[in-house]
C-alpha cells in the first residue's frame, strides 16, 4: 500500500448490471461501499488512481477490464454476463479525506485513499473509511448513505465510454449516466499525460513491479522458513 497525496485525483468506474440501467436506479448506485473483510466497520470502495492511469484512455481501459472480469465471474457461476462499463466519475483525494471532518457524520473516524494493487491492476486504489457506531452494525447503513451523498456531491464528470465489445449495442447506457454535481471532469493536458506515461513506464511501474516481487519473495521466504522449521 502506498500513500496518495491530497492534490491527486481518482476515478470511480461506472459498471452496472445492464438490466438496471433503464429502471429507477439512482446515479449514486455506482458508489458502492463494501464492508472490509477484517471488520464491518471498515468500508471500502475501489477507485482508479489517476497518477497511474494518467489519460482517459487508461481510465477507460481499466473500466473495460473490470467489466470483463465481472462478466467472466458471472459466466463461471453459470449466470448471464450482465455487466456493462459506461464511463467514470472523477474525485479529488482531498474531498474524500475531508469526510472525517464532516460535522453531521461524527461516526467517521478516518477516511483514507490507499494505493492497493489488486488483481494485477497497478492503478487500483481503495477508499477506506473507518466508522464507529458504538457496535451497532445496522446503524452503519445510514452512514453509508451520507458518505455516498458527500462523494456524489464532490464528484465530477462523467467521462462516458463504450468498450469495444459493447459497441454493437443500440442503446448503450453510457448516454444515460447523470451529470455529477461538481461539473465536468478535469482532463489533464497532453503534455502532462505524456510526462505521466513516460514516468509510469520508466520509473513508477518498475518500482511497483520490484516492490511486488520483493513482497512475494518475502512471503515465499517466510513460508519456506516455516516448513524448514517444521521439518526440523
Amino acid at each position: 500500500m502506498w500513500g496518495v497525496v491530497n492534490s491527486e485525483r481518482v476515478w470511480r468506474s461506472a459498471v452496472f448490471p445492464i438490466a438496471f440501467t433503464k429502471k429507477r436506479l439512482s446515479p449514486k448506485a455506482l458508489f458502492r461501499l463494501y464492508g472490509a473483510e477484517e471488520s464491518p466497520f471498515v468500508l471500502e470502495m475501489s477507485l482508479v488512481r489517476e497518477k497511474y492511469a494518467p489519460s482517459l484512455a487508461m481510465v477507460h481501459a481499466f473500466g473495460c477490464r473490470l467489466a470483463t472480469s465481472q462478466k467472466q465471474n458471472l459466466i463461471a457461476q453459470g449466470k448471464g454476463a450482465d455487466r456493462i462499463y459506461c464511463g467514470a466519475y472523477q474525485l479529488r483525494v482531498e474531498d474524500i479525506r475531508c469526510l472525517s471532518e464532516e460535522p453531521q457524520l461524527p461516526e467517521i473516524r478516518k477516511a483514507e485513499v490507499l494505493h492497493v494493487v489488486e488483481k494485477g491492476e497497478l492503478a487500483h486504489a481503495h477508499m477506506q473509511i473507518e466508522v464507529d457506531t458504538g457496535g451497532d452494525k445496522e446503524a452503519i447503513e445510514p452512514v453509508k448513505t451520507l458518505i455516498v451523498d458527500r462523494i456524489w456531491n464532490k464528484s465530477a464528470g462523467p467521462a462516458r465510454h463504450i468498450c469495444p465489445p459493447d459497441s454493437h449495442l443500440k442503446d448503450h447506457p453510457s448516454g444515460a449516466l447523470d451529470c455529477a454535481p461538481n461539473g465536468p471532469c478535469v482532463r489533464p493536458s497532453k503534455t502532462s499525460v505524456l510526462v505521466g506515461v513516460i514516468l509510469c513506464f520508466l520509473l513508477r511501474y518498475p518500482v511497483l513491479w520490484a516492490k511486488l516481487k520483493a513482497e512475494s519473495a518475502v512471503a515465499w521466504a517466510k513460508t519456506t522458513l516455516r516448513r524448514y522449521r517444521k521439518a526440523e
Binding site: 448490471p17 448506485a29 463494501y34 460535522p103 447503513e141 445510514p142
Partner: protein, 170 residues
Amino acid sequence: VDPAHVNSTPYSLYPAVGGSTFVLSGGVVTSVSATTNEPNIQTESYRALSETLNELSNSSEDDEWHIDDDVHKTSIQVAAALLDKNIPAPHVFSHGPKSVVFDWHDGEHNLYLTVGKCRLWVAISSASEVRARLELTAPTKNVAAAFLEGLQQSFINRPVLSYDPHRTAA
C-alpha cells in the same frame, strides 16, 4: 414496519388514509383506489420502482447488487406507504444486502430514506453539507408515520425541504 405482513394480498397499509387498497402482485405494488376512478399518475413510476427492488432482491446472494429478503419486503411496504400518500416515486440505490435507499432530488437538495430490515433513517443534504439526519424508528420514539404525513405536506407545499425531521421528532 413489520416485514411479516408484506406478503398478504391484497394488503391494506393505511386503509383510513385516502381509502386506497394496495395489491402486491409478485412484489409489484399497484394501487386500487376505492374513492375515485381517476388513474393514479404515480402508479407507473412506482411499478418501475418495485421492479427495480425485485431485481435487486432476485439477484443471487453472492451478487454484489443483492438485497436481503427482509430488506426487500420492508422496502416494498415503505414504497406502498409512499404511494398511499401520493408522494412522487423516489429513485433507489443500495449499498449491500442490508439496506436500500430511496432518493429524492429537487435540483438543490437531496432527501434520503434509508430502509433497513426493520429500521428507517432519514437525511437531508445540499451540495455543501448534510443538513439534517434522524432515525425514524428509534426505540424511544417511532416517528415514521409523522414523517410520512410531513413528507406528503412537503411535496404538496414545497418539495423536500419544508419537512424538518428535528421539528417532527421534538
